[in-house]
């Protein structure tokens, strides 16, 4: 199947005869990256699946108001990041959990998830990442796993490149420390 650029897909959505088909192509193009980003944040496949559905439903609702001054993929990542952070926040508020308890819960999800097949070191890295605050986790994941440019991350996280570089640097140091201990 032909891989369309985001610009072509947006043109198909806004000016074509079949916006539903164009949106379906947008989903097919970005679903895996968005899913992986959300999954790393919430760990459980079932939770990630629910959130990804919500992300694309929201994207469909808001796409008509999409301003082309930001890239489609960073826009989708921003919705996904917000949805994942909101999910984690709700989880904390619902059970009045402090940070380390949420991190413990997510660690337990990692251990029990039948769809987690990481090696020992990969699991150790994931557990170290779970010790970080949620936003710093998102920053680390975007840079380390998604290999996103800082300029794009700045659009996703709505913060400055300098702040993101500092956050990533600290995250790497914390993870190293945890692994070496």
């Amino acid at each position: 199947m032909k891989q369309f650029s985001d610009e072509e897909l947006l043109n198909m959505f806004f000016e074509g005869d079949n916006p539903d088909y164009a949106f379906n192509l947008i989903v097919r193009k970005h679903q895996e990256a968005i899913y992986r980003h959300v999954r790393r944040m919430v760990i459980s496949h079932d939770d990630a699946n629910d959130i990804v559905q919500d992300v694309f439903v929201k994207a469909w609702q808001k796409l008509s108001g999409f301003r082309k001054d930001s890239a489609l993929y960073t826009w989708l990542y921003r919705i996904a990041t917000n949805e994942a952070l909101t999910f984690l926040k709700r989880k904390k508020n619902r059970f009045f959990l402090p940070l380390h308890d949420v991190s413990k819960q997510l660690e337990e999800s990692l251990e029990s998830d039948v769809y987690y097949k990481g090696s020992d070191i990969e699991k150790k890295i994931q557990k170290a990442i779970l010790k970080l605050p949620d936003k710093q986790r998102a920053v680390f994941n975007l840079r380390y796993y998604d290999e996103m440019k800082y300029e794009d991350m700045a659009e996703v996280m709505n913060t400055s490149v300098g702040a993101l570089k500092a956050s990533y640097h600290h995250a790497v140091k914390k993870i190293e420390l945890f692994i070496s201990n």
Partner: protein, 174 residues
């Protein structure tokens, strides 16, 4: 290049600069998905969108975030309007007074403010001018008898809304 090595050499370079060995572990996070998950996901998203379409809320023109403040404002406005109506009808001390149908009619007839309010309301809903309503009340003063009928219709409607019988209104106008 190993299967899960970072594609962007900048990532590894950056990690080296930070003094980290993390770059050696590659970019596999270990998360897997059920078989055929990504081939089925677009269809289940499409289903969710179809469901959303069927459940479009009545207030969809108002963003969900603003729905509660809007509803609260409407309730407040309705409450205030009702209070003003009660004050106009019964006076400030009459807010909690018991309903007295004769009192309503007497108030309409004897209180010029309320009378003006009633006519002003009627004027807003008809094409008549304030002068026509406030000063030229008889049918002979109207060039257009349809306009007079329209005013009467509006007045009766208002009177009915306030629980005033038409016969009382007619006696007041006579």
């Amino acid at each position: 290049m190993k299967e899960f090595e970072h594609k962007d050499p900048g990532i590894r370079e950056e990690l080296k600069k930070i003094g980290s060995n993390l770059g050696h572990h590659g970019s596999d996070d270990g998360f897997r998905v059920p078989e055929n998950y990504f081939s089925q996901l677009p269809n289940s998203i499409q289903d969710s969108i179809q469901q959303q379409r069927k459940q479009q809320p009545v207030f969809s023109v108002i963003p969900a975030k603003r729905l509660w403040p809007v509803l609260a404002s409407i309730v407040l406005l309705v409450g205030l309007t009702f209070s003003v109506f009660l004050i106009q009808r019964n006076g400030v001390n009459g807010l909690l007074a018991e309903e007295d149908p004769t009192y309503e009619v007497e108030y309409l007839i004897n209180n010029p403010t309320f009378g003006q309010y009633l006519f002003y309301e009627a004027m807003l809903e008809s094409d008549l001018t304030a002068q026509e309503i406030m000063y030229d009340m008889g049918p002979d003063d109207f060039d257009d008898s349809d306009a007079y009928d329209e005013l009467m219709e509006q007045l009766f409607e208002k009177a009915n809304y306030f629980g005033i019988e038409s016969s009382y209104l007619l006696s007041y106008l006579d």
